[in-house]
């Protein structure tokens, strides 16, 4: 199968859906001629024109609100939010308006929009351009949250998101835009709420989101060499969450590590770990371990930044601890 970059995968998904459905349009800063700073949208304005690839002023709350209104009345906007950190600026329009409209109207006014944004540290962009804020969005009922872990997922989930009649937030890892993966030429969609078992294993389950799937896969490689068989699972969407697949794996391996690039505290790892603890407790040989990003603003200095996020070594080490039974003494 051909291999394309994550960036290209997103671009293709958007182009295909825009061809299929005239009501789809893109709105955001420097999305047209510039194709975004990450160049993900290059070429789209040439095909679809400035009416469907709309450059906005630097008004995140404004264009997010505009997207909500357009979505409510028959369009399907794809909002481009340049950095995930800017979510803080649009939370009201996203969480008080988009997320609640369908419910508050008793099922009358739905908001089919997609918010494309990103996450991920280690790009030397410091505290306001490096956050992974998907947990905040996942906490708000009414929003769906997709976290592609490769070009394949980026394409399939984006297409599903655009066709979804609810507001969907997609977090792309900005460090992965140039990473290639096999992506079929033919059209495909990835349904929401279906986890992907990236690698089967017996001894320990590694659940990773977004780029942490790669981290888990790398850890699994290392562990395999040591005779530890790790299962790697990518939930792909955290809302809705495919609990069944996660629980089945937990029950099989009896040991679970959840890895996510958001801050660890009050984040995604706590939710997933809790669900597994609650529903597979008597099958577990050890507590579900969590590995999130450190609870610190992301530092600029490379010497500091790199140690704030989970690494394959860290995950492998945690898996070894789980296997060794060492946890018994800790807990």
């Amino acid at each position: 199968m051909r291999e394309i970059t994550l960036s290209k995968a997103v671009n293709e998904a958007l182009a295909e859906e825009m061809r299929r459905d005239e009501t789809v349009f893109i709105i955001g800063e420097d999305v047209a001629e510039a194709g975004t700073p990450f160049k993900v949208l290059s070429g789209l304005v040439e095909e679809f024109g400035t009416d469907r690839v709309l450059d906005t002023p630097i008004s995140e709350p404004g264009f997010m609100g505009i997207a909500v209104g357009a979505a409510m009345t028959g369009a399907r906007p794809v909002v481009d939010l340049m950095f995930g950190d800017f979510l803080f600026l649009i939370m009201d329009q996203l969480c008080n308006q988009a997320a609640k409209s369908y419910y508050m109207s008793g099922g009358k006014l739905n908001v089919p929009l997609v918010l494309r944004t990103n996450l991920g540290a280690t790009r030397r962009s410091a505290a306001q351009h490096s956050q992974s804020l998907h947990a905040l969005v996942a906490h708000i009922p009414g929003l769906k949250v997709a976290m592609p872990s490769s070009a394949y997922e980026a394409k399939g989930l984006m297409k599903t998101a655009i066709r979804d009649d609810n507001p969907v937030v997609i977090f792309e890892d900005k460090l992965m835009y140039n990473d290639k993966a096999p992506v079929p030429e033919e059209e495909f969609l990835i349904p929401f709420g279906q986890a992907n078992i990236k690698r089967e294993g017996r001894d320990v389950t590694l659940i990773g989101t977004s780029s942490m799937v790669q981290v888990c896969e790398a850890a699994a490689e290392t562990l395999a060499a040591e005779g530890i068989s790790a299962e790697v699972i990518d939930p792909r969407t955290i809302v809705p969450l495919d609990e069944a697949t996660l629980l089945a794996s937990a029950k099989k391996t009896s040991r679970v590590i959840v890895v996510d690039e958001g801050h660890q505290s009050f984040g995604v790892t706590g939710e997933i770990a809790s669900r597994i603890n609650e529903k597979a407790f008597y099958h577990l040989d050890a507590p579900v371990l969590r590995m999130g990003a450190m609870d610190v603003p992301v530092p600029f200095s490379p010497a500091l930044e790199d140690i704030t996020v989970p690494t394959p070594e860290g995950v492998a080490e945690a898996a070894r601890r789980l296997m060794s039974g060492e946890m018994i003494h800790a807990a």
Binding site: R52, S59, G62, F63, G69, T73, Q97, M104, G106
Partner: protein, 331 residues
């Protein structure tokens, strides 16, 4: 006002709609005072000429966005008493199946995109509806209602900028009733409200909001112009709320003199003014008007009765309408 003979029906309907709003509010206030309504609500009484003067210049396919003080807009845009009272009481037959209540009430089928409990929260939505109209070549115009207090929200300037850059068919209707909650407008608004719109290159008007014919005449001019792509427009409507900020705001002399209230009620009431004009012009007799008033009163009483007896939504509805495609979000 030249076409008096030809527009008889329009004039009577405007009067009728204003009385319907006043009557609705009197009943809502009574429901609160007799502890039959859950929560609080914000009365539109005194401001009827604004909603009616504007909405009578709109068609059913034109959209509006409304506010926390939204009953007037809802009635003026074509809603019926029964479903409105049911909503106010949290009943299943309410426009939002009881899920919205007073602050989210809307007859969505007549183009009302919802009342909004976030001050200024609908400004993006209205502008987005107008963007959708432009992109899709639709002819509808969107009116964004908001109060003087909402002019302090930055979102307004963000979306006015985009509306102006893109010539969107949106009309910003600022209902300046002299107060936001317990504070006079001059204490919270520096400079001039219309000048703020003008600074973005938007044509702005200030108009007497107690004169339904004046309001309507202005809108009869602006709405078609907006349809033709000459928008956006900004209108500041000088008006007054008769009640407190909400139904529970009863002792309000610390921020507003009784004399002032009395002056507006006695000398500038939009319904009294319109009634006198109708009689003077020979469009309706006092008797005819009284008959209309009592018919409306009876209608309202019947609707209140109906709503009081109507059933609450089934508790199974609690996790419905979170998503369009997930029947029960918490199942």
């Amino acid at each position: 006002m030249s076409d008096t003979k030809h527009n008889t029906e329009d004039y009577l309907r405007m009067y009728r709609q204003m009385v319907r709003i006043r009557t609705f509010e009197d009943n809502a206030n009574q429901l609160y005072l007799s502890a039959k309504m859950p929560g609080l609500t914000h009365m539109y009484s005194g401001e009827e000429a604004v909603a009616v003067g504007i909405c009578e210049a709109l068609t059913d396919s034109d959209r509006i966005t409304s506010t926390h003080r939204g009953h007037g807009h809802c009635v003026a845009k074509g809603a019926e008493f029964k479903a409105m009272f049911c909503e106010l009481l949290g009943k299943e037959e309410g426009y939002c199946r009881g899920k919205g209540g007073s602050m989210h009430i809307a007859d969505q089928s007549h183009g009302n995109l919802g009342a909004n409990a976030i001050v200024g929260g609908s400004m993006g939505i209205a502008t987005g509806s107008a963007l959708r109209a432009k992109l899709q070549g639709a002819e509808d115009v969107t009116v964004c209602f908001f109060g003087d207090g909402a002019t302090a929200q930055g979102l307004m300037y963000e979306v006015m900028n985009m509306a102006a850059l893109w010539n969107l068919p949106v009309i910003y209707a600022c209902e300046n009733n002299g107060y936001s909650e317990y504070t006079k407008t001059e204490e919270i608004a520096a400079g001039s409200i219309t000048a703020r719109a003008e600074a973005f290159g938007i044509e702005a008007h200030q108009v007497d909001g107690q004169d339904v014919l004046g309001v309507n005449a202005l809108m009869q001019d602006l709405v078609p112009r907006a349809r033709k792509g000459e928008g956006p427009f900004f209108v500041e409507l000088m008006t007054y709320r008769y009640h407190g900020h909400h139904v529970g705001d009863i002792n309000r002399e610390y921020y507003r003199a009784k004399d002032e209230e009395q002056d507006w009620k006695e000398n500038r009431d939009p319904i009294i003014r319109m009634r006198a004009w109708l009689v003077e012009q020979g469009i309706a007799s006092e008797d005819e008007i009284e008959a209309m008033n009592s018919e409306i009163r009876e209608d309202a009483a019947a609707a209140v009765d109906y709503a009081l007896k109507a059933p609450y939504p089934d508790t199974r509805e609690v996790d419905m309408h979170v998503y369009t495609d997930i029947a029960h979000a918490c199942a």
